[in-house]
Amino acid sequence: MFEFIYDILQFFLHILITDFKYENFLLTLLSGIIIAFAVINAVLGGVLALIWGERRLLGRFQQRSGPNRWGPQGILTSTADAVKVMFKEDIIPEEADKYIFNLAPLLLVVPVFIIFSVIPFGIGLYAVNINVSVLFILAVTSISGLSIICAAWASANRIAIFSALRSVAMLISYEIPVGLSLVGILLITESMSVMDIVNFHNMPFILIQPVAAVVFFLGSLAEINRTPFDLTEAESELAAGYQNDYSGMKWGLFYLGEFAAAIAAASVFSTLFLGGPNGPILPGIFWLTIKVVAVLFLIIWIRATWPRFRIDQVLNLAWKGLFELTLVNIVVTSIAVIIWPDGESNRMIYIALANWIFVFPFLFIIFRLLKTKNYDDNDIKKVTYPVGSDKPKFEKAGN
């Protein structure tokens, strides 16, 4: 992708002047800008479509029609929102720490766009190919916690501080299960680069590593503050938490960052576990969009149905639930990898079977431990207070 654009630019440059001292620097800079421009606009387009799609889908889940006033079927709603937010007044609270207050939205949005630089959109259609891209993704996702802290601390608002402390505790405790759940895949493919993982085998990794997929999905739900882990801006308690004091385009950036993070999480999940752009007939880019849309549908579906956890249950689930699951997964996969080394014919099927048999039941055992006592129905009818057991005095004494 990069060389392709580099040659085209070189061809055009040679028409004007043949040799130019800084030619190589200029061309790399220009093609880099073009690729970055393309990727960012693709993601922004995706965000606008996701905002519209989510609001209408949530509406349809609740038997109402969702926004349909601007443009046919409400397609221009998100653009109308964006334009409105740009012109809204930009308030900075009095005792706010101005610089950190302005820095916070950028800190949230920029890392999300960086993730897309590593994701392959098709065969050879990628922005950058680093050989440790999985590590790169994990490193970049951890910056968003910092931005939430900056936003809350700068806006000097007690409820925002509540939401920031909650979100830091949650993000840190969920980074470890997310990181460890990928170890299984790395063991099998012996390479950290997303390109190798994608074209390693035609069978998607979700079948080979079921538990790792579940843990990664739940972890990424917590990373992007989505139900059932949306504790940072729990409407009923904190009413938009750290975004309380933001208005105008700063709030717009937060809103955009939140939805872009959802697309990022969905695309990372589909590249790693659903095999990214490879699929039978259609070109790579279509397969990636179909998988991302499917994962986004699942995220929105969960958001429309499940209530949210409490902070202690969220941390409980992370440390006592998902963490152990990833360890079990690593142990089983490493044994499977040793038993069936590289040369085997249908090695993947054996590993997949090993995972399904040994690791999948653990999912229910550990979640069972987390759950509270089930509601036993027999104590419904037990009446504890003796209503009407005694007679008033004037009836008792018979007078």
Binding site: P386, G388, P392, K393, F394
Partner: protein, 159 residues
């Protein structure tokens, strides 16, 4: 749900606590305000009455005196009774009565509301202050002699 006849109830109370009942007719009992706490304690604890649910406390302003009305219900004997106490004669002194908060916690908000709107103070109530109106509100609105013209309230509360 049987209704206690005021006269029989008055006889019962009088037999245990002398001279605590001033007057009674067939559906309510007038109790001497000083002895209200003992009467209520008796009604709550003894087995034949066991009025464990204090349904409601209200106050009525009859120009020359106030009347605090207690409606009691007993879940155990499925019976209900009304106890009244006349307080604050002649309107000069601040009307005062003993609070029943220590017997029934349910009396907390209702007594504060009576103090707030009617002006009857309940002694040894945990936090005896206004519940509905703001603290600087002049006077007690539910009294019959409370004249309402909007301007006076605004100015008085500014003072």
């Amino acid at each position: 749900m049987k209704n206690w006849n005021g006269i029989t109830l008055a006889k019962e109370i009088n037999s245990h606590l002398e001279k605590s009942v001033l007057d009674s007719n067939d559906n309510d009992v007038y109790v001497d305000p000083e002895k209200i706490y003992q009467v209520m304690k008796f009604l709550k604890e003894t087995s034949g009455f066991s009025f464990d649910l204090l349904s409601s406390i209200t106050a009525v302003d009859y120009y020359d005196h106030f009347e605090v009305v207690y409606h009691l219900k007993s879940l155990i004997t499925l019976s209900k009774a009304t106890i009244k106490a006349k307080v604050g004669y002649g309107r000069q002194d601040e009307p005062k009565i003993q609070s029943v908060y220590s017997l029934w916690k349910g009396a907390d908000f209702q007594e504060r509301e009576i103090y707030d709107l009617m002006g009857i103070k309940f002694e040894d109530h945990p936090n005896m202050k206004r519940i509905l109106l703001w603290d600087g509100f002049p006077g007690h609105p539910l009294r019959k002699d409370f004249v309402t013209n909007d301007q006076s309230i605004v100015e008085d509360s500014k003072k």
